[in-house]
């Protein structure tokens, strides 16, 4: 049964991470364009730092760092009269109440917490990339469009909401769809973060003898399980390609771009 659930886990991760990363990306891009200097610096630093650090190292690093940060904060709040240092040599010690999740919590809470950490990590990383794409897209919207809106007396906020945001998507989509493909291909890394995902189950179920399943002895099937995973991902890629093509066609409609012009000519 586990493997079916884990396919759901992967799809759930995609479903939660994509909008979250988009939100982070939009926030980062808006911050980087902001008129307030500290906010602008924050946005730019966010994009630069996350994009500069090599790939998986970030995933491995961030999950532990996030976990320890949460526990440390809870420790400060919940146990104010704790007098020992938190970092004792090579151990990270916080008081019992600050443990996240609590030591006596049910198994599913532990799993959900692990999954949640993974989602946040994925969102932060992909958010930085999305921020970069959107930052570029916002600058790609023709200046004349914004100036016209300003000439009509719209405030900066109105310009952003009515002109900039509706128009930026067509410029952002190629980059974002690329990012979506990368995100799909990054999901097996959940395994490294300790979530029982499809990679975990393929190894478990395919192996000749596992602690979980001893009832059905069979030879080493792991190769076939991974072949199935390979095909699963290929299909996912193919399907998203088709969907994204349609979205692109829809977004291009009526835009002042080469694609929009081609559509207009085809219709005439």
């Amino acid at each position: 049964m586990g493997i079916y659930w884990s396919v759901g886990t992967v799809l759930l991760l995609l479903a939660i991470t994509a909008p979250l990363a988009l939100l982070f990306g939009y926030g980062g891009a808006s911050a980087a364009r902001s008129q307030i200097a500290p906010l602008r610096w924050f946005g730019k630093t966010y994009m630069a730092v996350v994009r500069g650090v090599p790939d998986i190292a970030f995933f491995l690093f961030f999950v532990i760092a996030l976990d320890q940060a949460i526990e440390y904060l809870r420790h400060k709040v919940l146990c104010p009269d704790w007098d020992m240092p938190v970092r004792q040599g090579s151990d990270f010690v916080v008081c019992q109440q600050a443990k996240m999740p609590l030591g006596n919590a049910a198994q599913w809470i532990h799993e959900t917490y692990g999954f949640g950490l993974a989602v946040v990590t994925f969102s932060i990383v992909f958010g930085a990339f999305a921020a970069n794409v959107m930052f570029g897209a916002m600058r790609a919207v023709p200046r004349g469009q914004l100036e016209t809106a300003e000439a009509y007396g719209m405030s900066r906020r109105q310009v952003t909401r009515r002109i900039l945001v509706p128009q930026m998507w067509v410029y952002a989509l190629p980059g974002l769809s690329n990012l979506w493909m990368v995100l799909i291909k990054a999901t097996p890394l959940l395994f490294l973060l300790g979530v029982e995902d499809i990679v975990y189950w393929a190894r478990e179920l395919g192996g000749t003898k596992t602690p979980n399943f001893t009832d059905y002895p069979h030879s080493d099937w792991r190769m076939w399980y991974f072949l199935a995973l390979l095909i699963f991902y290929l299909l996912l890629t193919k399907a998203s390609e088709a969907v994204l093509d349609r979205v692109m066609a829809r977004l291009t409609r009526g835009q002042a771009t080469a694609g929009g012009e081609a559509q207009r000519k085809a219709a005439v």
């Binding site: 090599p54 790939d55 291909k185 097996p188 395919g206 991974f226 390979l230 290929l234």
Partner: protein, 268 residues
């Protein structure tokens, strides 16, 4: 123990030379720097050999994909789709178990169950597929005038390819190919986290960084060290590819040259 002693003991540990046991307690900064640096040998090995061999296959695949004959085009398209459409992580797993099963039938395949050969094969095909797509794009954007000029000079077949098409393709593709190279070096860190075992704890840089993070519960030291090593490696790659780029573009006036724009991606 002095730092020089540590370097002597662990400098080539990733190749199995030097101290047999990894440090278990009282980790010093020097040990972390040395061991993670020692692991970089593997990252560089995988990167260089996969790039060099993949370059040749990529050229062939790009020509195949651009071919008018379906016999050449279809296999090239499929190979590119399969390796670009699925996660590298799953490819590693699948390849490892494939080689493991083949080993049962043909003992000669036992060679490929070890990381140095098996993972290299996967990385070779993977980078070939990604580079082939880049080269194919460049092939399509070769200026029409160039090929017409080649025809006018009476060049055809092999000499037309060698003197006009291939150099122009490389020139156009080089900035994107540099990104692919950087990206490949980052991807080498996945090897020992997939199926391939690190025999006698001879792993790559991320393997050792992860080892230290696990033992010390402190991700804030080993991962930044790893990141530092990778930034240096990336700078070396950028510099050497920049030199080749300058050579490829040496006939152009300096202001029309395509500048290298470094945009590392995350995970494939």
């Amino acid at each position: 123990m002095s730092c020089l002693q540590t370097i002597a003991d662990y400098g080539l540990r990733s190749l199995g030379i030097g101290e047999r046991l990894l440090p278990r307690s009282d980790f010093t900064l020097c040990q972390q720097f040395t061991l993670i640096g020692s692991g970089m040998i593997w990252n560089i090995y995988f990167g260089i050999f996969a790039l060099a061999a993949g370059f040749l296959l990529a050229t062939a695949l790009a020509m195949g994909k651009a071919s008018r004959h379906a016999v050449l085009r279809k296999p090239a398209e499929w190979l590119i789709f399969i390796f670009r459409g699925s996660p590298l992580f799953i490819q590693f797993f699948f390849a490892y178990f494939l080689f493991l099963s083949l080993k049962g039938a043909v003992p000669a395949f036992g060679l490929f169950t070890s990381a140095w050969a098996g993972a290299l094969v996967v990385l070779f095909f993977n980078t070939a597929a990604y580079s082939a797509e880049i080269f194919y794009g460049a092939l399509l954007s070769i200026p029409k005038g160039d090929t017409e000029a080649a025809d006018a000079y009476g060049l055809s077949g092999w000499s037309r390819f060698r003197r006009v098409i291939w150099p122009t393709m490389l020139r156009l593709a080089w900035p994107a190919y540099t990104n692919e190279a950087i990206f490949l070096f980052h991807a080498t860190t996945l090897v020992f986290f997939s199926g391939f075992p690190a025999l006698q704890q001879r792993g790559d840089a991320l393997y050792y960084a992860n080892y230290f993070a696990d033992k010390t519960f402190n991700p804030f030291v080993p991962y930044p060290i790893l990141a530092g090593y990778f930034i240096i490696l990336t700078l070396i790659v950028i510099t050497s590819f920049g030199l080749i780029n300058a050579r490829l573009n040496r006939h152009l006036p300096s202001d029309t040259r395509k500048k290298l724009r470094i945009r590392p991606q995350i995970i494939r």
